[in-house]
């Protein structure tokens, strides 16, 4: 039986609550992984082991599921994420140039490793593309300037810290 990774952490209480809500049923694996992703920001290895034991699923299968789905991350996230929507509507409205700009702009900030640039397949606000997602906030009708502005804001933030 896997031990709980650390004790007294409120995040583990949330995880345990999710596990008990699903009464340890193996089919709840993805729901529980969602909870883990939410509370930890990614799914640490010891949490995977803990979930495998709690749901009585072979470790390899838990890893197989966790590594299959793009919304689950097995490595710690950067402190900021800049997501450029590459849905078709955004794409025909110039999202590729935005992505390039985002990579270029964050390349400058690479030294601090604060920002991760991602391309999303579609964020579902196609009527107002191109879209930019700055951490959890969505910017509609984005352009290169918007990208530069957001990256600059990140950098300012990191200097404040």
């Amino acid at each position: 039986m896997e031990k709980k990774p650390t004790n007294g952490d409120s995040r583990h209480k949330l995880l345990d609550r999710a596990l008990s809500r699903h009464q340890g049923r193996p089919e709840a694996l993805i729901e529980v992984l969602h909870t883990a992703q939410d509370v930890f920001g990614y799914i640490p290895r010891d949490v995977l082991a803990y979930i495998a034991a709690a749901l009585d699923i072979p470790k390899s299968r838990v890893f197989g599921v966790a590594s299959y789905y793009p919304l689950f991350s097995l490595t710690p996230p950067a402190s900021h994420t800049l997501t450029v929507c590459m849905g078709t509507a955004c794409y025909v409205n110039g999202a590729a140039a935005l992505l390039e700009e985002a990579k270029r702009a964050c390349g400058c900030a690479d030294g601090d490793e604060i920002t991760e640039v991602r391309a999303a397949h579609c964020l579902g606000s196609c009527g107002r593309g191109p879209l930019l997602k700055v951490d959890q906030r969505t910017v509609v009708d984005a352009d290169r300037d918007a990208v530069r502005r957001e990256v600059a804001a990140f950098e300012e933030h990191s200097h404040d810290d």
Binding site: R45, P58, K59, S60, R61, V62, F63, G64, S67, Y68
Partner: protein, 236 residues
């Protein structure tokens, strides 16, 4: 008493039990259909697509390994189109991994290599992708070489369905899939592994092999699975 179906495969009238697959019916009557992900004794997944056959009246090609026989079914297992597709599928597999037969432990004893020869694959037209893969030699006795893996998942199924250790699984997805042991542990550290070696016996290529051997056992996958499955059935 089994219900019996009568059907035609490559013009030959044959009868088969109603729950038989086209593949089983064909092989029972000496008609060979190429397979790679299928192995008698393991569940079928229909993934390699080599056993696709034409069925009269159906637009889509069907995998013989999972398609049940039906009364009056007319099946063709070879045609110019099927031959072409099989060769292309093999070319795709060769292009995807690092299959350097000359330096492979399974050379001359490899299902992939044999199937390519059967299909007349004298060269591969697609880009060789040359993936940068690793080899896991941390286990005391066994080696897993990702370079030669074709993701047929026979090792995963035998580990799960026969040995019930479930040490191995497919991780990732798409062209970024790989075989993993436990939580991406080195194989040597995967505590669930019983070192039974069944995965080596079912591997169609040289991806899984025993340390210290320069060639794989030519009989490796032939009989042991049927023996175990039958033994389990007798007990059950």
């Amino acid at each position: 008493m089994h219900e019996i179906r009568t059907l035609s495969i490559d013009g030959q009238m044959i009868s088969a039990s109603a729950d038989a697959t086209i593949l089983e019916a064909a092989r029972e009557h000496g008609i060979s259909i190429p397979t790679l992900c299928h192995l008698d004794g393991l569940s079928d997944v229909g993934a390699c697509r080599l056993c696709l056959v034409e069925i009269e009246g159906q637009n889509r090609l069907q995998p013989a390994c999972v398609t049940r026989v039906e009364e009056h079914m007319v099946v063709r297992t070879t045609s110019a189109r099927l031959k072409k597709y099989r060769r292309m599928l093999l070319e795709l597999l060769f292009s995807e991994g690092n299959h350097v037969c000359a330096v492979c432990v399974a050379n001359r004893n490899c299902e992939l290599q044999n199937l390519a020869a059967d299909a007349g694959m004298d060269h591969v037209r697609f880009d060789y992708l040359h993936p940068a893969c690793t080899t896991d030699a941390t286990h005391d006795r066994f080696v897993l070489d990702h370079n030669r893996c074709i993701l047929c998942a026979r090792c995963v199924r035998v580990c799960d369905e026969i040995e019930a250790a479930s040490t191995l699984a497919v991780a990732g997805r798409g062209s970024q899939s790989w075989i993993v042991s436990d939580l991406q542990d080195s194989w040597g550290d995967a505590r669930s592994c019983t070192s039974c070696g069944k995965c080596l016996l079912v591997c169609p290529t040289g991806s899984l092999f025993e340390k210290g051997h320069t060639s794989t056992d030519p009989e490796r996958k032939e009989d042991f699975l049927r023996y175990i499955v039958n033994a389990n059935r007798r007990k059950g």
